[in-house]
Amino acid sequence: MSALPHMGAQPAAAADAPVLAIDGLDIRLPAGADRALAVQGASLQLRAGQTLCVVGESGSGKSMIANAIMGLLPGPQVAPVAGRILFQGQDLLQLDEAGLRQLRGSRIGMVFQEPMTALNPVMRIGEQIGEVFDAHLRLPAAEKRQRILAALADVGLPDPALLIDSHPFRLSGGQRQRVMIACAMALEPALLICDEPTTALDVTTQAQILALIRGLQHRRGMAVLFITHDFGVVSEIADQVVVMQTGCIVEAGDVQQVLRAPRNAYTRQLIAAIPQGRARQPVGDAGAPLVLQVQDLCKTHVTGRGLFSRGRRVEAAKDVSFDLRQGQTLGLVGESGSGKSSVGRCLVGLSPFESGRILFKGRSLLSGGPLMRQSGGKIQMVFQDPNASLNPRQKVGAAIAAGPIAQGVPVHEAQARCRELLALVGLGAEAADRWPHEFSGGQRQRICIARALAMQPELLVADEPVSALDVSVQAQVLKLFAEVRQRFQLAMVFITHDLRVAGEMCDHIAVMQRGRVVEHGPAAEVLTNPRHAYTQALINAVPRLAA
């Protein structure tokens, strides 16, 4: 498996005039938003053959710039109010809709973030690519079909002749993203705008898509504007980088310079927040009591069972085994479909399992609902999406105290415990009287941690607890996990797709692929000396900062 080059891309010979030049752009937001301007005074330049990355967290306005170039800002209230967007010398803000439409798809192409919803579900793939040709050219049917096949082959999709007549639901996320890129590149545009195209994809798929975009850029010599929140990606593909914070550009320049010697404090903070993937030294003595023993756990999903069909059996987890001692953390690492979340849910009793044993403190547990009763609330879980894991109609204090109260703890004692925990996770005791929607994502995750701790658990299962958070917030929440673990001597199972996070948080790592554990060992060993090819592929695919 060839490793991606970790050095920044070689800057191609720059043409004289920039393909894209944005000058003092202001974009306003509707009244009542948290600030008046989504983007303020943005200026940047992009030459042919170069890649410019716009980096920022959510709400920084980076996507707004991309949408403004294409004229795709949502609604009349969100609109550019000052500045110029010069594309090949022409000010796009002066063009009317008809003029912009001529450019879209033919001279400027755009790829969006969510591949699963970006294609029309009832239209065939061939027709969706053919639309691009129909919108700008008049081609005879035979030639159009040839060019569609060529476009599909160009983005590395297998069996173009079969794909032309297929519908999007047959394709995976990565494949759909390739189709989007094919649509955007079909007419060989001078500028390709990518709005976080790999954020919703697995790490290995992300690596492939990034390689594809680089390859296309080298062959066609086009300019690429790449929006992302991941500095690792920036390091891999960018020539120039622009950092945005709440609508303003705080740093811009050559990628090597910005990464090595960032001048702005925010940039430094962002770079520092990225988990380095430096493995922890295993903590806790090997003689600590065994909290969890999993032996040959098997879980199968059956989908699509109907009156006539027996349904499909998918083995979500097969023969999964591991041990966990008090005070130690095990990382379950894998991509989507690896079965890691299924194992997590079996451990806490939210899903039943078919065979195998789970022993908690030496006692074998039944599967499913009864497991929760047997464990007496000592196995708790922190979930992935902080927006969905709190009842929007219940106050924070009530949510945290509900568990202990249900166990028979007297009300005032439960409330006291709740206030204590809220202080521990860094939110004041007055947070108990507020509603979940009044808090940010990172704060909500802290509340979820407090809720789990209220039950005084001995085993904590964290299912991708930081995946939905911004990078700077991630670092804070991970720190909280480490503090909590140390203080309460918890055993933790940390489920994640991000090897860097696993390296920082976990003593041992178990890598899962398609339901099986393919590698298991101390974190340092797994990350530096992987034995299985898949682990090696995962490590290679992680976009890492240039050393």
């Binding site: 609330g377 879980m381 894991s389 568990g403 166990q407 509603w435």
Partner: protein
Amino acid sequence: MSKAFWRRFCRNKGAVLGLLVLAVALVLVAVGPLLAPNDPWDMVQQPFLAPLQEAGFPMGTDTMGRDIFSGVVRGARISLLIAVVSTAVSLLIGVGIGAVAGYFGGWVDATLMRFTELFQAVPSFALAIVLVAIFQPSVGAIVAAIAIVSWPPVARLVRGEFLSLRQRDFVAAAQLAGLSTPRIILTQVLPNAASPIVVMASLMVATAILLESSLSFLGLGDPNQMSWGYMVGSARTVLRQAWWMAVFPGLAIVLTVLALNLVGEGLNDGLNARADGRSR
């Protein structure tokens, strides 16, 4: 939270208008007998009196000389009463079935949904006609018939809501905290499913009024009650001579149903604030 709800509700002008009309209707129900002292069944004037020809008879009289205005005012009471009660019964059945089906899933869901689909396959108005005809027209029979044909859409809505809410992480967290199943349904799931149910309830009252009036039009209304549908029905054969017998009761139905629909839309805007980014 309720201030935000009222703000969003009042942004919908139609909903505010509907609320006003409903308020007027309720006032009429309350003070009606004072405004229109004549018993609608009494023959008080000459038949076929055109509107505004005699003082005190703004809507004229019908074939038997009965006052139409008092008929419209009294009719409000019976129509709204039947509509509200039948909707309440319908909600009880529908929410019960839908909640159980949606929460427990699996074969429980499959059987209950097959049962619901079977019910929905039958044209509801035809079934209502048959039920009332066979069990003899009375207020009780009408309420029962309307409730029986109206519960399937509620059940499906509630089942859908419960199915999706059931998968949410906060329900899982409540299970992990050791809350019992009835407690989870009542305190975690139901409050979050309440908004669409409330919106649907207002629309169901509107549909119930239409159903009840249609049944009365066909002569299946309670023979002791002067309802709007009955009044329009008795006008059918004498439409040429006395257009006012059909127009006024009909207008009353249209206005009330329209008001309820508008209020329902306002409730929808007010309760489902997706623009705020809140997950309902």
